[in-house]
Protein backbone atom coordinates (compact mmCIF):
# COMPACT_ATOMS: atom_id res chain seq x y z
CA UNK A 1 0.00 0.00 0.00
CA UNK A 2 1.52 3.26 -1.13
CA UNK A 3 -0.84 5.50 0.82
CA UNK A 4 -2.07 5.00 4.39
CA UNK A 5 -5.74 5.03 3.45
CA UNK A 6 -8.23 3.02 5.43
CA UNK A 7 -11.75 2.69 4.15
CA UNK A 8 -14.79 1.90 6.21
CA UNK A 9 -17.35 0.05 4.15
CA UNK A 10 -19.96 0.35 6.86
CA UNK A 11 -19.78 4.13 7.05
CA UNK A 12 -22.52 6.27 5.56
CA UNK A 13 -19.84 8.32 3.85
CA UNK A 14 -19.45 7.11 0.23
CA UNK A 15 -16.13 5.39 -0.53
CA UNK A 16 -14.96 8.01 -3.05
CA UNK A 17 -15.59 10.68 -0.44
CA UNK A 18 -13.56 8.82 2.15
CA UNK A 19 -10.62 8.55 -0.23
CA UNK A 20 -10.89 12.22 -1.11
CA UNK A 21 -11.02 13.22 2.57
CA UNK A 22 -8.08 11.09 3.59
CA UNK A 23 -5.85 12.23 0.73
CA UNK A 24 -6.76 15.84 1.55
CA UNK A 25 -5.86 15.18 5.19
CA UNK A 26 -2.48 13.75 4.13
CA UNK A 27 -1.83 16.85 2.04
CA UNK A 28 -3.00 19.36 4.67
CA UNK A 29 -1.01 17.69 7.45
CA UNK A 30 2.12 17.95 5.32
CA UNK A 31 2.57 14.18 5.03
CA UNK A 32 2.19 14.51 1.28
CA UNK A 33 4.02 17.71 0.26
CA UNK A 34 3.52 19.41 -3.10
CA UNK A 35 5.08 17.41 -5.91
CA UNK A 36 4.70 14.00 -4.22
CA UNK A 37 3.65 11.33 -6.67
CA UNK A 38 0.33 9.58 -6.06
CA UNK A 39 -0.39 5.98 -7.06
CA UNK A 40 -2.12 5.46 -10.38
CA UNK A 41 -5.88 5.01 -10.33
CA UNK A 42 -5.48 1.31 -11.18
CA UNK A 43 -2.85 0.67 -8.50
CA UNK A 44 -4.82 2.45 -5.78
CA UNK A 45 -7.97 0.59 -6.81
CA UNK A 46 -6.14 -2.71 -6.35
CA UNK A 47 -4.79 -1.71 -2.93
CA UNK A 48 -8.18 -0.48 -1.70
CA UNK A 49 -10.08 -3.33 -3.39
CA UNK A 50 -12.45 -0.99 -5.19
CA UNK A 51 -13.24 -0.32 -8.85
CA UNK A 52 -11.37 2.24 -10.91
CA UNK A 53 -14.70 3.98 -11.37
CA UNK A 54 -14.76 4.87 -7.67
CA UNK A 55 -11.09 5.83 -7.48
CA UNK A 56 -11.35 7.95 -10.61
CA UNK A 57 -14.22 9.87 -9.06
CA UNK A 58 -12.13 10.66 -5.97
CA UNK A 59 -9.15 11.77 -8.11
CA UNK A 60 -11.39 13.90 -10.32
CA UNK A 61 -12.81 15.68 -7.28
CA UNK A 62 -9.32 16.22 -5.87
CA UNK A 63 -8.10 17.55 -9.19
CA UNK A 64 -11.10 19.82 -9.52
CA UNK A 65 -10.41 21.14 -6.01
CA UNK A 66 -6.81 21.92 -6.96
CA UNK A 67 -5.21 19.37 -4.64
CA UNK A 68 -3.67 17.13 -7.25
CA UNK A 69 -2.47 17.45 -10.83
CA UNK A 70 -2.35 14.82 -13.52
CA UNK A 71 0.23 15.10 -16.26
CA UNK A 72 -0.34 12.96 -19.31
CA UNK A 73 2.17 10.14 -19.39
CA UNK A 74 3.84 11.18 -16.13
CA UNK A 75 1.21 10.45 -13.54
CA UNK A 76 -0.55 12.22 -10.71
CA UNK A 77 1.13 14.55 -8.23
CA UNK A 78 0.20 16.66 -5.22
CA UNK A 79 -0.38 20.26 -6.31
CA UNK A 80 0.68 23.47 -4.54
CA UNK A 81 -2.18 24.33 -2.21
CA UNK A 82 -2.68 27.85 -0.80
CA UNK A 83 -2.08 28.25 2.93
CA UNK A 84 -5.56 29.71 3.47
CA UNK A 85 -7.21 26.75 1.85
CA UNK A 86 -5.05 24.42 3.95
CA UNK A 87 -6.19 26.11 7.17
CA UNK A 88 -9.80 25.90 6.17
CA UNK A 89 -9.38 22.24 5.44
CA UNK A 90 -7.69 21.48 8.72
CA UNK A 91 -10.79 22.82 10.44
CA UNK A 92 -13.09 20.70 8.34
CA UNK A 93 -11.03 17.56 8.94
CA UNK A 94 -11.28 18.21 12.69
CA UNK A 95 -15.04 18.58 12.46
CA UNK A 96 -15.19 15.40 10.41
CA UNK A 97 -13.31 13.48 13.10
CA UNK A 98 -15.63 14.81 15.81
CA UNK A 99 -18.61 13.92 13.64
CA UNK A 100 -17.41 10.33 13.59
CA UNK A 101 -17.23 10.24 17.39
CA UNK A 102 -20.69 11.74 17.75
CA UNK A 103 -22.06 9.22 15.28
CA UNK A 104 -20.64 6.37 17.36
CA UNK A 105 -22.15 7.86 20.51
CA UNK A 106 -25.57 8.17 18.88
CA UNK A 107 -25.33 4.58 17.78
CA UNK A 108 -24.86 3.66 21.43
CA UNK A 109 -27.97 5.68 22.29
CA UNK A 110 -26.12 8.43 24.18
CA UNK A 111 -28.12 11.55 24.93
CA UNK A 112 -26.87 14.98 23.86
CA UNK A 113 -25.85 15.79 27.44
CA UNK A 114 -24.01 12.52 27.79
CA UNK A 115 -22.09 13.18 24.59
CA UNK A 116 -21.22 16.66 25.80
CA UNK A 117 -19.89 15.33 29.09
CA UNK A 118 -17.80 12.66 27.33
CA UNK A 119 -16.36 15.35 25.09
CA UNK A 120 -15.50 17.60 28.06
CA UNK A 121 -13.92 14.66 29.84
CA UNK A 122 -11.74 13.69 26.86
CA UNK A 123 -10.78 17.31 26.28
CA UNK A 124 -9.81 17.83 29.91
CA UNK A 125 -7.81 14.61 29.97
CA UNK A 126 -5.88 15.29 26.76
CA UNK A 127 -5.21 18.89 27.77
CA UNK A 128 -3.88 17.65 31.10
CA UNK A 129 -1.61 15.16 29.37
CA UNK A 130 -0.39 17.91 27.11
CA UNK A 131 0.41 20.20 30.02
CA UNK A 132 2.05 17.36 31.90
CA UNK A 133 4.24 16.66 28.92
CA UNK A 134 5.48 20.25 28.71
CA UNK A 135 5.98 20.81 32.41
Amino acid sequence: MELPIKLSRDSRVPIYHQIEGQIKALIVSGKLPAGSPLPSIRALSKDLEISVITTRRAYQDLEYGGFIKTTQGKGTFVAEVEVKKMEKLAISSVSEAIEKGVETALRHNYSVDEIRSVFEEVLARLKDNDRGGHA
Binding site: R9, S45, K46, S51, V52, I53
Partner: protein, 284 residues
Protein backbone atom coordinates in the same frame (compact mmCIF):
# COMPACT_ATOMS: atom_id res chain seq x y z
CA UNK B 1 -15.93 5.36 -22.38
CA UNK B 2 -14.64 3.67 -25.51
CA UNK B 3 -15.93 0.19 -26.13
CA UNK B 4 -13.63 -2.61 -27.17
CA UNK B 5 -16.18 -5.40 -27.41
CA UNK B 6 -19.90 -5.63 -28.11
CA UNK B 7 -21.73 -8.92 -27.69
CA UNK B 8 -25.29 -8.86 -29.00
CA UNK B 9 -27.86 -11.62 -28.53
CA UNK B 10 -25.18 -14.26 -28.87
CA UNK B 11 -26.43 -17.81 -28.45
CA UNK B 12 -24.98 -21.30 -28.69
CA UNK B 13 -26.58 -24.69 -28.12
CA UNK B 14 -24.47 -27.80 -27.66
CA UNK B 15 -26.47 -30.99 -27.06
CA UNK B 16 -29.22 -29.85 -24.71
CA UNK B 17 -27.32 -26.97 -23.08
CA UNK B 18 -27.84 -23.43 -24.35
CA UNK B 19 -25.56 -20.52 -23.57
CA UNK B 20 -27.24 -17.16 -24.10
CA UNK B 21 -28.77 -15.12 -25.50
CA UNK B 22 -26.02 -12.90 -24.12
CA UNK B 23 -25.70 -9.13 -24.37
CA UNK B 24 -22.53 -7.59 -22.98
CA UNK B 25 -20.28 -4.62 -23.61
CA UNK B 26 -16.65 -4.33 -22.52
CA UNK B 27 -15.14 -0.88 -22.05
CA UNK B 28 -11.51 -0.01 -22.56
CA UNK B 29 -9.77 0.90 -19.30
CA UNK B 30 -11.70 -1.66 -17.27
CA UNK B 31 -11.28 -5.16 -15.88
CA UNK B 32 -14.34 -7.37 -15.99
CA UNK B 33 -14.57 -10.53 -13.88
CA UNK B 34 -16.70 -13.29 -15.30
CA UNK B 35 -18.17 -15.36 -12.49
CA UNK B 36 -20.32 -18.45 -12.36
CA UNK B 37 -20.41 -22.01 -11.08
CA UNK B 38 -18.73 -24.78 -13.03
CA UNK B 39 -20.70 -25.40 -16.19
CA UNK B 40 -22.36 -21.97 -16.19
CA UNK B 41 -21.13 -21.27 -19.72
CA UNK B 42 -18.18 -18.95 -19.02
CA UNK B 43 -15.67 -20.83 -21.16
CA UNK B 44 -18.16 -21.20 -24.00
CA UNK B 45 -18.77 -17.45 -23.95
CA UNK B 46 -15.02 -16.81 -23.93
CA UNK B 47 -14.46 -19.20 -26.82
CA UNK B 48 -17.16 -17.42 -28.79
CA UNK B 49 -15.34 -14.16 -28.05
CA UNK B 50 -12.27 -15.73 -29.67
CA UNK B 51 -14.23 -17.16 -32.62
CA UNK B 52 -13.17 -20.66 -31.51
CA UNK B 53 -16.80 -21.63 -31.04
CA UNK B 54 -19.21 -20.27 -33.65
CA UNK B 55 -22.42 -18.89 -32.17
CA UNK B 56 -25.76 -20.07 -33.61
CA UNK B 57 -27.18 -16.55 -33.38
CA UNK B 58 -26.20 -12.98 -32.62
CA UNK B 59 -23.08 -11.02 -33.31
CA UNK B 60 -19.72 -10.26 -31.75
CA UNK B 61 -17.74 -7.13 -32.47
CA UNK B 62 -14.17 -6.38 -31.36
CA UNK B 63 -12.80 -2.86 -31.99
CA UNK B 64 -15.55 -2.04 -34.45
CA UNK B 65 -15.10 -5.11 -36.62
CA UNK B 66 -17.34 -8.15 -36.73
CA UNK B 67 -15.49 -11.21 -35.49
CA UNK B 68 -16.81 -13.23 -38.43
CA UNK B 69 -15.90 -10.92 -41.28
CA UNK B 70 -12.94 -8.85 -40.13
CA UNK B 71 -9.38 -9.85 -39.32
CA UNK B 72 -7.78 -6.86 -37.59
CA UNK B 73 -9.21 -7.75 -34.16
CA UNK B 74 -6.87 -10.75 -34.06
CA UNK B 75 -3.93 -8.40 -33.49
CA UNK B 76 -5.78 -6.76 -30.60
CA UNK B 77 -7.18 -9.69 -28.66
CA UNK B 78 -5.10 -12.21 -26.70
CA UNK B 79 -6.48 -15.24 -24.95
CA UNK B 80 -5.21 -17.57 -22.27
CA UNK B 81 -7.15 -20.83 -22.44
CA UNK B 82 -7.72 -23.13 -19.48
CA UNK B 83 -5.87 -25.92 -21.22
CA UNK B 84 -4.05 -26.38 -24.50
CA UNK B 85 -3.94 -29.52 -26.59
CA UNK B 86 -1.21 -30.56 -28.98
CA UNK B 87 1.66 -28.61 -27.43
CA UNK B 88 3.09 -31.31 -25.21
CA UNK B 89 6.16 -32.05 -27.36
CA UNK B 90 7.13 -28.40 -27.86
CA UNK B 91 9.41 -26.46 -25.54
CA UNK B 92 8.61 -22.98 -24.26
CA UNK B 93 11.09 -21.54 -26.75
CA UNK B 94 9.47 -23.37 -29.65
CA UNK B 95 6.02 -22.18 -28.63
CA UNK B 96 7.29 -18.62 -28.51
CA UNK B 97 8.86 -18.98 -31.97
CA UNK B 98 5.60 -20.30 -33.38
CA UNK B 99 3.49 -17.56 -31.88
CA UNK B 100 5.52 -14.35 -31.86
CA UNK B 101 5.76 -13.78 -35.66
CA UNK B 102 1.96 -13.64 -35.93
CA UNK B 103 1.71 -10.65 -33.60
CA UNK B 104 2.95 -7.32 -34.93
CA UNK B 105 3.16 -5.79 -31.48
CA UNK B 106 4.86 -8.79 -29.82
CA UNK B 107 6.94 -7.49 -26.90
CA UNK B 108 10.03 -9.67 -26.52
CA UNK B 109 11.37 -7.65 -23.60
CA UNK B 110 8.14 -8.14 -21.68
CA UNK B 111 8.20 -11.82 -22.55
CA UNK B 112 11.70 -12.31 -21.15
CA UNK B 113 10.91 -10.29 -18.01
CA UNK B 114 7.78 -12.32 -17.33
CA UNK B 115 9.61 -15.60 -17.95
CA UNK B 116 12.12 -14.50 -15.32
CA UNK B 117 9.42 -13.36 -12.89
CA UNK B 118 7.61 -16.70 -13.08
CA UNK B 119 10.85 -18.71 -13.29
CA UNK B 120 9.77 -20.56 -16.42
CA UNK B 121 12.24 -22.96 -18.02
CA UNK B 122 11.89 -22.30 -21.76
CA UNK B 123 13.93 -25.41 -22.64
CA UNK B 124 11.46 -27.74 -21.00
CA UNK B 125 8.76 -29.45 -23.05
CA UNK B 126 5.23 -28.21 -22.37
CA UNK B 127 4.03 -31.72 -21.53
CA UNK B 128 6.74 -32.10 -18.89
CA UNK B 129 5.78 -28.90 -17.08
CA UNK B 130 3.53 -28.87 -14.01
CA UNK B 131 -0.03 -27.60 -14.52
CA UNK B 132 0.82 -24.37 -12.76
CA UNK B 133 3.89 -23.86 -14.93
CA UNK B 134 1.91 -24.55 -18.13
CA UNK B 135 -0.58 -21.95 -17.00
CA UNK B 136 2.18 -19.43 -16.36
CA UNK B 137 3.68 -20.00 -19.81
CA UNK B 138 0.28 -19.63 -21.50
CA UNK B 139 -0.26 -16.45 -19.59
CA UNK B 140 3.13 -15.01 -20.47
CA UNK B 141 2.56 -15.84 -24.15
CA UNK B 142 -0.81 -14.07 -24.05
CA UNK B 143 0.49 -10.98 -22.24
CA UNK B 144 3.47 -10.54 -24.59
CA UNK B 145 1.19 -10.25 -27.62
CA UNK B 146 0.73 -6.74 -26.34
CA UNK B 147 -2.89 -6.52 -27.42
CA UNK B 148 -5.56 -4.09 -26.25
CA UNK B 149 -7.86 -6.81 -24.94
CA UNK B 150 -6.76 -9.75 -22.83
CA UNK B 151 -9.13 -12.64 -22.12
CA UNK B 152 -8.10 -14.97 -19.30
CA UNK B 153 -9.87 -18.22 -18.51
CA UNK B 154 -9.20 -19.05 -14.86
CA UNK B 155 -5.56 -17.97 -14.95
CA UNK B 156 -4.89 -18.60 -11.27
CA UNK B 157 -6.57 -22.02 -10.95
CA UNK B 158 -3.35 -24.03 -10.54
CA UNK B 159 -1.03 -21.29 -9.34
CA UNK B 160 0.79 -21.13 -6.03
CA UNK B 161 0.03 -18.20 -3.73
CA UNK B 162 3.14 -16.08 -4.50
CA UNK B 163 2.48 -16.45 -8.24
CA UNK B 164 -1.10 -15.30 -7.77
CA UNK B 165 0.18 -12.18 -6.05
CA UNK B 166 2.74 -11.61 -8.81
CA UNK B 167 0.10 -12.02 -11.46
CA UNK B 168 -2.09 -9.32 -9.91
CA UNK B 169 0.73 -6.82 -10.00
CA UNK B 170 1.60 -7.85 -13.55
CA UNK B 171 -1.98 -7.34 -14.70
CA UNK B 172 -2.12 -3.93 -13.00
CA UNK B 173 1.10 -2.92 -14.80
CA UNK B 174 -0.19 -4.35 -18.07
CA UNK B 175 -3.31 -2.20 -17.81
CA UNK B 176 -1.24 0.96 -17.31
CA UNK B 177 0.64 0.60 -20.57
CA UNK B 178 -2.14 1.67 -22.87
CA UNK B 179 -5.90 2.02 -23.03
CA UNK B 180 -6.67 -1.65 -22.47
CA UNK B 181 -9.20 -4.08 -21.09
CA UNK B 182 -9.16 -7.48 -19.40
CA UNK B 183 -11.90 -10.05 -19.17
CA UNK B 184 -11.08 -12.66 -16.55
CA UNK B 185 -13.10 -15.77 -15.74
CA UNK B 186 -12.22 -16.68 -12.18
CA UNK B 187 -13.25 -18.54 -9.04
CA UNK B 188 -10.66 -16.73 -6.97
CA UNK B 189 -12.14 -14.07 -4.69
CA UNK B 190 -8.92 -12.07 -4.49
CA UNK B 191 -8.96 -11.59 -8.27
CA UNK B 192 -12.42 -10.12 -7.96
CA UNK B 193 -11.62 -7.93 -4.97
CA UNK B 194 -8.32 -6.57 -6.21
CA UNK B 195 -8.72 -6.48 -9.98
CA UNK B 196 -12.34 -6.30 -11.06
CA UNK B 197 -14.16 -3.07 -11.86
CA UNK B 198 -17.18 -4.87 -13.21
CA UNK B 199 -18.56 -8.24 -12.22
CA UNK B 200 -20.54 -10.27 -14.72
CA UNK B 201 -22.52 -13.14 -13.24
CA UNK B 202 -23.44 -16.21 -15.29
CA UNK B 203 -25.71 -19.01 -14.22
CA UNK B 204 -26.96 -21.97 -16.22
CA UNK B 205 -25.95 -20.44 -19.55
CA UNK B 206 -27.61 -17.11 -18.84
CA UNK B 207 -26.02 -13.80 -18.01
CA UNK B 208 -27.63 -12.66 -14.76
CA UNK B 209 -26.17 -9.17 -14.82
CA UNK B 210 -23.20 -6.85 -15.04
CA UNK B 211 -22.50 -4.81 -11.93
CA UNK B 212 -19.97 -2.23 -10.92
CA UNK B 213 -18.14 -3.74 -7.95
CA UNK B 214 -19.17 -1.15 -5.35
CA UNK B 215 -22.74 -1.20 -6.61
CA UNK B 216 -22.82 -4.92 -5.87
CA UNK B 217 -21.24 -4.51 -2.43
CA UNK B 218 -23.80 -1.93 -1.34
CA UNK B 219 -26.79 -3.92 -2.51
CA UNK B 220 -26.39 -6.33 0.39
CA UNK B 221 -26.41 -5.75 4.12
CA UNK B 222 -26.45 -7.76 7.30
CA UNK B 223 -28.53 -6.53 10.27
CA UNK B 224 -28.53 -7.63 13.91
CA UNK B 225 -31.62 -6.84 15.92
CA UNK B 226 -32.07 -6.20 19.63
CA UNK B 227 -35.28 -8.23 19.78
CA UNK B 228 -36.56 -11.18 17.83
CA UNK B 229 -38.24 -9.91 14.68
CA UNK B 230 -41.41 -11.95 14.86
CA UNK B 231 -42.45 -10.71 11.42
CA UNK B 232 -42.93 -13.06 8.56
CA UNK B 233 -41.09 -11.44 5.68
CA UNK B 234 -39.26 -8.15 5.43
CA UNK B 235 -38.83 -6.41 2.05
CA UNK B 236 -35.40 -7.26 0.63
CA UNK B 237 -34.92 -10.19 2.98
CA UNK B 238 -33.00 -13.12 1.53
CA UNK B 239 -31.80 -14.89 4.64
CA UNK B 240 -32.51 -14.98 8.38
CA UNK B 241 -30.93 -16.61 11.40
CA UNK B 242 -32.47 -17.01 14.88
CA UNK B 243 -34.93 -14.26 13.99
CA UNK B 244 -32.27 -11.74 15.07
CA UNK B 245 -29.96 -11.70 12.09
CA UNK B 246 -31.23 -10.66 8.70
CA UNK B 247 -29.61 -10.38 5.30
CA UNK B 248 -31.07 -8.09 2.68
CA UNK B 249 -30.33 -7.62 -1.00
CA UNK B 250 -32.31 -4.40 -1.19
CA UNK B 251 -30.92 -2.12 1.49
CA UNK B 252 -33.13 0.83 0.65
CA UNK B 253 -36.39 -1.10 0.90
CA UNK B 254 -35.29 -2.90 4.05
CA UNK B 255 -34.15 0.32 5.75
CA UNK B 256 -37.44 2.04 4.96
CA UNK B 257 -39.43 -0.87 6.33
CA UNK B 258 -37.35 -1.13 9.51
CA UNK B 259 -37.72 2.58 10.19
CA UNK B 260 -41.46 2.58 9.57
CA UNK B 261 -42.00 -0.36 11.87
CA UNK B 262 -39.55 0.97 14.48
CA UNK B 263 -37.48 -2.20 14.59
CA UNK B 264 -34.31 -1.49 16.51
CA UNK B 265 -31.07 -2.44 14.76
CA UNK B 266 -28.19 -3.36 17.03
CA UNK B 267 -25.62 -3.29 14.27
CA UNK B 268 -25.41 -3.55 10.49
CA UNK B 269 -22.59 -4.22 8.06
CA UNK B 270 -21.86 -4.90 4.41
CA UNK B 271 -21.20 -8.49 3.34
CA UNK B 272 -17.91 -10.05 2.31
CA UNK B 273 -17.41 -10.56 -1.42
CA UNK B 274 -17.55 -14.37 -1.01
CA UNK B 275 -20.98 -14.14 0.61
CA UNK B 276 -22.29 -11.71 -1.98
CA UNK B 277 -21.22 -13.96 -4.83
CA UNK B 278 -22.62 -17.04 -3.13
CA UNK B 279 -26.00 -15.32 -2.74
CA UNK B 280 -25.91 -14.04 -6.30
CA UNK B 281 -25.10 -17.45 -7.73
CA UNK B 282 -27.97 -18.99 -5.81
CA UNK B 283 -30.29 -16.42 -7.37
CA UNK B 284 -30.68 -14.25 -4.27
Amino acid sequence: MKLCTQIERVEKTVDDFTVGPINLEIELGTITALIGNNGAGKSTLIKMMMNLVKPDNGQLVHFGGSIKTSEHWKQEVAYQPQSVLGCDLLTGNQLRDLMAPWYKKWDQEMFMNLVKTFEIDLHKRFGKMSKGMQQKLNLVLALSKNTKLLILDEPTANMDIPSKQKLMNILVDWMERDERAIVIATHHVDDIKKLADYIVIMNDGKLLGKYEKEELVYRYKRYWFEDALGIEKIPGEIDRLNDRLLISNDVEQTDTFLKKNELKIMQSEVLEMEEIITYMLSGR
